[in-house]
Amino acid sequence: MLVTRRGSRREIAALDHVAISVGLRKGMPVSKAQAMIKSLHVSDLDAAGDREAIERLALWALQRFSPLVAADQPDGIVMDIAGADHLHGGEEMVLKKILSQFKAAELSRKAALADTWGQAHALARYHKHPAVLIEPGQGASIIRDLPLPALRLPEATVAALRTLGFETIRDLASAPRATLTLRFGPEIGRRIDQAMGLVGEPIEPVELPEIIEVARPFGEPIGAADTIAKYIRQLVERLVSDLEKKGLGARRLDLLAHRVDNTTVTVRVGTALPIRDTKRLTRLLTDKIEKIDPGFGIEQLRLRAVQAESLDPAQMINSLVDDADQDVAALIDVLSNRMGQGALYRFAPVASDIPERSFQKIPPLSEETIGDWPSKWPRPTRLLPYPEPIETMALLPDHPPVWFTWRGVRRRIKAADGPERIFGEWWKTDFEIAAVRDYFRVEDETGERYWIYRSGDGVDPETGSLKWYLHGVFG
């Protein structure tokens, strides 16, 4: 429990969930709390330290999630992810990633993704779910039911409004604006409009001090795609020479376009390996030009390397024999900036007998994996994402079915190989101690081949349900 001083009174400023569960509340006098609970752990609130910690957290988020991050004091950070969600595979994935990374850092977390800062602020703090994703245009109706403090109003105003009988944002939004303004000033109207998205609210982003950044202001605002591309190229050239001086290569680049209407459009691109190649970086950024909406014109373009790693000059390989393995990193960067980083991968073997666990996805430029799948047994070309149940007629326990029906088509089995018995991995889950699958490779009348299995060994019901499934198709 943390304590702050208000006038001569010491009251609770923040408390953990254990304290909440025993009935303590924010704003309660400390003496009362100490009377209720004997072994109370009390320490003073370090407001300045907390503000600094939030700023640090914002910088950390800047490198990971979004080019525009600001501290939303005293207890949150706000990010504009519009230009960067594609790197993580969409808005939902960004939200998931943020939550899981905060969890890994053992921070308590709630997150919301909405149209405006005001909505996200309210939903993150006052919605009952820890993670909220609001479809565009839906936020305004959802936040109406939230309590008044969600509007970011001064505490005194909230208390006065409560006295007047206002409880939720809906009450306030439907009340006549003029009288409220007369009594409380323009603050209430402004906050409501910001939350509903009627008034813009630019984010004043945090800046990394040691970041490598180049900027280009324009006397006359620019707007044409060709012009933007030309200046991107110039900026990249300057950035690359800066990177070269420091021996760094860019892993993540932000392009910030400041428009004349005081909004910032951002584009973020990532690379698989650190690079400082003018041509490749320009290509990655110009690929995203259609995402930059110039509005009434762009006043300033800024380019910064948010994440840079050391990149030492490497010797060019010059041999008589052509290097067969050409560098594909440039292609990978182009594609993964377009489709998201998870969309590109390689498969690597995993030591498991269970087909769906025998491979894993690894990043496309990882080291070559050693080892291979056992090549003795025929394996189907296509593996169904989930084994599909089939209807069969079979003689137990070790005969393949005589026919089976899959996706409404009945197929007579002309020849079969099997069973290939696969045991459950009891070291993974308890359920698999006795589990068994008997795989058969079967060929139907037309020569098409399928991989089917029976769950269980055909005798002991403990080993499986004795139902048949189709798991793969051979070529």
């Binding site: 489709m339 969309a343 799948w373 593996l383 070529g475």
Partner: protein
């Protein structure tokens, strides 16, 4: 004598046509199958590199495209360098691809999510030039799209294989529509020869060359005999 003149004339004509098509015929590089029957039939003695090829599977294969995928994997396995394999949704089983000789270390998969993105990735890969081969699984391939791909292949010299794979059997009629692909294949499974003991015999394919620029269409039933199959490292032989 007459015949000698004829063949000289034909060679000259071929070169002329090659020039009209955009590059000298002498520069055309091919990738032989290593199967005499097929190589003898194809112009230049193999599949031309720097070109788009189309493969579909017959029967149920039109939906799962299993045989077509193996055929394509067998071809790109014999090229050098990385292979880009673009799919809408992943259902390839990596061990099977490794079994036809295409090491998992060489294949980079792109799971694009929708058809349009698959074509985009396909074209980007074809244009890139540093890849051994590019495979993409698509249902629809229009004349315009295939022409773009073919042009990209010609500039980079990469071999591109479009595996045609449809959602429904009825959509497979789309394979009749013309595209700019240089060759067009259909692979169908045939019933294996019965073995003297219970068990599944060696897989047999009917490989149809439906269209080929500069050669007749042809049928190769079970052309990938035991020996060739091993050399081709194409499907599993038991």
């Amino acid at each position: 004598m007459n015949q000698a003149i004829d063949s000289a004339m034909i060679a000259e004509l071929r070169e002329k046509i090659g020039r009209l098509e955009g590059r000298p015929a002498s520069q055309r590089v091919v990738l032989p199958f290593g199967v005499d029957v097929i190589d003898r039939h194809l112009p230049g003695g193999g599949l031309s590199l720097g070109a788009l090829h189309e493969v579909a599977a017959g029967g149920n294969g039109a939906i799962d495209g299993a045989a077509a995928a193996l055929f394509a994997a067998g071809i790109v396995a014999r090229t050098k360098g990385k292979v880009l394999w673009c799919v809408t949704r992943q259902d390839l089983f990596a061990p099977a691809i490794a079994q036809v000789g295409l090491s998992a270390n060489r294949v980079i998969y792109v799971e694009a999510g929708d058809e349009q993105s698959v074509l985009e990735a396909f074209e980007e890969g074809m244009r890139y030039g540093g890849l051994g081969g590019i495979v993409a699984e698509v249902a629809k391939l229009t004349m315009t799209a295939s022409r773009r791909l073919q042009l990209a292949a010609e500039t980079s010299g990469a071999i591109g294989i479009a595996i045609r794979r449809w959602r429904r059997q009825t959509e497979a009629a789309d394979f009749g529509q013309p595209t700019a692909a240089v060759t067009r294949w259909r692979i169908s499974s045939l019933p294996s020869r019965p073995l003297p003991v219970p068990g599944v015999g060696r897989a047999r394919w009917q490989v149809e060359l439906i269209r080929c620029r500069g050669a007749e269409a042809a049928d190769f039933v079970d052309a990938f005999g035991e020996a060739q199959r091993r050399r081709l490292k194409s499907p599993w032989c038991s």
